[in-house]
Symmetry: C2
């Protein structure tokens, strides 16, 4: 490939609109352009990287026996209605009608659609099946951002496993876990497998693969000591339980004029860990009290997962006043008939403080078991940095991370909803047990850039670089220089190396800058001075190290570098 | 690949819903399944064929210096509004709104979107540019049909050329013409380049590549003698002009009770070629008379192309009665003040018959130039089989055909609308000149099947077959047979041949039937009887010819067959 014929619109300066390094660099190095918020055009260099990522993912999928398919991107509403997700997906699903008025949706994931194909399976003898595709997903994100990190349209490798039972699913799930580990290693992305919330997927559990990065939108609780890692939406810790005194025979009301916050109440001899924090939520339309320890924070996803609620929002002050007779600041669950869901950290607690449901009054001496009707106990609180790891007891770190893969044990939810049944060995029709496994291709590209760049640009790992080598003609008006460079270029190209020759009528400095900015792993420079000495310069992008190599040995030298990369 | 692990749901019988052979066979051989009308799931075998087709198209695009990109499938309305096609595309464009209420469309083609990227070009020195992608296109077809032939969602290779002037466009256009010729030859699709209507693309001309097939939706006028070929929407013929007498000094009204048709009027001494047929159309809201010779038929696309009308429909009888005072059967253009568009075949005609705009009355002695105010002369009539070729004069054939590619000289229409300008050599900003070039990937797959099948199934050309070779274990319960087959399979696989081994616990007949139905070009059968003789059987799908080949020479023999295929 000749640089002079490529469309690589590099920019001299950082684009103003980009924050994340990958966003900034992919724009500046001429890889992508935004069409509109959340929709990017991939220019030639990005298409090359994307196809290498896809190649690696495809190899690893094929290696575990998965079969590639391609299912439609535009879906009829019917399978989504059958699974219950037509409603559940809410505004994140792009919806439309065709010319006949039939409801359609743009696929944001494909469990339902692969299930429709799987209806054709009829015997346990055909199982397990592993099916995957590379297909565009569409999601109406409320806040697309970070360039390729969170878009409304992206390529996903999504895979689905079909097993006769949960033991089979475990085997399939482990196979994908292994494949994902290999994929991210080959892509050069540090990937931490994390216990995760299954969100709208449902099912029996899921693992996220997380790439630690400052621009990540997720938080991961991680113990470097033992390797424990969990999304903050699922993470727990081994908190010591405070020992309470016996307390009072019954809760006792007292005046707390002007007290609105947990902090305010500490002035009345109530440290945060002896208070009950009372939040009011509307879960699928029902007003619900949510109780946590005063010094703990709610993680809303945990509340969603604990209740299975599709719609969740904090209650408005007026709703709270109507229901409890008081405003936030003096709320409590004692003697209240609304549904109550409480965090596990409140179990067995006595002698606690809480609001009295009268403005400017609180209760003390509350015994949770005795005084409050808790309908549901659940893990609701968000762990904080420094808390003891639930596995090894060492302090947890909380790190920002990019979700680069997510694998789910779905169980038989979709099979039941969509009628995917096979005959088991006893001749009985049973629903198949499904798993689902996703990697966002363009997000993986962004994650690689996040973890592989420096102040001069991108530093691609060889396996995904758009070109492995750039041969730079330092003085393109010098026929001898150009001729020597062309020889090396030709030798590399004929040897199957992904090589580009920078034959533009530009100064050498401009060419060096572009090769560095675009992140090509090796640069071979042929210039007048080197030509006089009979050498080319071979520069490694990652280290900046330059070696002089005899012209006629340059191609072989670069091939050896690539082979050991 | 092992057949026992693949999902290839072949059907014993022809599916009832399928008419076209490709539709029937792709369903029956387990390649595709319909999700809903116009949307197909591609199963593993189809994905393999698709990726081979894409590979061939990509090679030929790269060979003419085109660069692969990937632009969004979901588009903001703005560029479509700027080009005027937001309205023009009508119901065929899927439209939706996002959560903020912004108008979006699913891309049915990408001229506007590639133009937005091309705005970044700034000098004639960067031209020509050739950009392409493989991207899903969405079209809300009124009647999706024929399986993969006409769907609402399909992969298109669309390419766009950007040149400084029309001479450059001609060069680019010719390059694509050549590439398309090579692509269809490699795919095994007989392709007739045809002069074509540009439809909603606009521009200076276009060529369709047509695959003759009984199930084709297009009609092509073709002269085998000289190679002339044109879509019926554009085809012309060299009709002899009738010689008219001087006629009457003025049109003369006469009674024609009960006459409603051209045929009816022949009883009054008016042969079809001496009648004027008067049709009434509503073109972009305006009532317009359309005149043809009595024995000629209108081609509506020609009317659209001649007038540039976006909306076209036949007028309702009530509209006609209101405007002309008579009903169809007695209509004419003499003395009428509505716009009149007439077919070229009526030029210079005298002594003609036409309706009098009074029910049951006609005129004779009409001199078109003297008596009718024709606003526009155009080629409107549809040529008929047997008419003389406009180039060589030999009789034209009319054949059904599938449109498998379409290339357009767009000119500067989109560049002007979307502001794609570069500096020319004189330093002046000028709009670039565009071309656009499309191949539907799944339709190409269907066209190959239409032209490559027999009564036992598909007969893929080697270049696009899902597997080049199937090794069949005739008795899978015989370890010696299986072992000998595995050796051949392993040798072929290690040599890079695309090979599948049919290791299912099925009767040999079932396996043979599936290999034939799925269209795999070569079958290597290892069975007990052959094993005793030390031979395998090599069967060519296309001819049915079987050869006995020593077991240890079988792999090399098949490789030689493939190399010469």
């Amino acid at each position: 490939m000749r640089w002079s014929q490529m469309f690589v619109p590099t920019l001299r300066d950082d684009p103003a609109e980009a924050d994340a390094p990958s966003h900034r660099l992919l724009l500046r190095a001429g890889y992508v352009r935004q069409l509109t918020a959340g929709h990017y055009s991939l220019l030639p260099l990005a298409v090359r990287v994307r196809s290498k990522i896809i190649g690696i993912v495809r190899q690893e999928m094929d290696a575990i026996g998965a079969q590639e398919m391609l299912l439609p991107a535009l879906h009829p509403a019917e399978p989504w209605r059958r699974s219950g997700r037509w409603e559940l997906m809410g505004q994140e699903m792009f919806r439309l009608q065709d010319r006949r008025g039939a409801d359609l949706a743009l696929g944001m994931t494909h469990e339902e659609i692969f299930a429709t194909v799987a209806r054709e399976l009829n015997s346990y003898k055909q199982l397990p099946q592993q099916w995957y595709q590379f297909q565009t997903k569409f999601r109406d994100e409320p806040r697309p951002k970070g360039g390729l990190m969170r878009t409304r349209e992206f390529t996903m490798k999504d895979a689905y496993s079909f097993d006769i039972d949960r033991a089979g699913l475990d085997v399939s799930f482990d196979a994908y876990h292994g494949a994902y580990t290999r994929i991210f290693a080959r892509l050069g992305i540090p990937a931490l497998p994390c216990d995760a919330s299954s969100g709208t997927m449902g099912g029996a559990g899921s693992t996220e693969f997380m790439c630690p990065a400052d621009v990540g939108e997720d938080l991961v609780a991680h113990s470097p000591a033992c390797g424990y890692a969990a999304n903050i939406e699922r993470a727990t810790s081994a908190l010591p339980e405070p020992s309470d005194g016996p307390g009072l025979p019954a809760p006792e009301r007292f005046d707390t004029p002007g007290v609105r916050t947990i902090d305010d109440l500490t002035a009345y001899g109530a440290p945060g860990d002896r208070q009950i924090k009372t939040l009011v939520y509307v879960l699928d339309g029902a007003l619900t009290l949510v109780l946590l320890r005063g010094d703990h924070a709610l993680n809303e996803q945990k509340l969603v997962d604990a209740t299975g609620a599709a719609g969740i929002r904090a209650a408005e002050p007026a709703e709270i006043q109507d229901a409890l007779g008081a405003l936030p600041g003096s709320l409590g669950a004692v003697g209240v008939s609304l549904p109550v869901i409480a965090d596990e950290a409140l179990r067995r607690r006595r002698d606690m403080f809480t609001g009295a449901n009268i403005d400017d009054m609180h209760l003390r001496g509350v015994d949770v078991a005795r005084d409050i009707t808790v309908g549901t106990w659940a893990d609701l609180r968000e762990v904080a940095a420094g808390e003891p790891c639930p596995r090894c007891g060492e302090p947890l770190e909380i790190v920002r991370a990019i979700e680069i893969g997510h694998i789910f044990k779905l169980g038989d939810r979709y099979a039941r909803a969509l009628g995917v049944e096979v005959l088991d060995p006893d001749g009985k029709r049973v629903p198949v047990v499904m798993g689902s496994y996703g990697i966002g291709v363009e997000r993986a590209m962004a994650a690689i850039v996040e973890t592989h760049h420096d102040e001069r640009g991108i530093v691609w790992p060889v396996a995904v670089a758009p070109f492995q080598v750039a041969v730079v003609i330092a003085q393109s008006d010098d026929a001898d220089v150009a001729g020597a460079a062309e020889l090396i270029y030709g030798a590399l190209r004929d040897a199957g190396v992904d090589v580009v020759i920078d034959d533009r009528a530009e100064r050498a400095g401009v060419k060096f800058r572009d090769v560095e900015l675009t992140g090509i792993p090796y640069r071979v420079t042929v210039g007048r001075r080197g030509l006089a000495e009979g050498v080319a310069e071979v520069t490694a992008r990652a280290t900046g190290d330059t070696e002089k190599v005899p012209l006629d040995a340059a191609a072989a030298h670069v091939r050896a570098l690539l082979a050991s990369a």
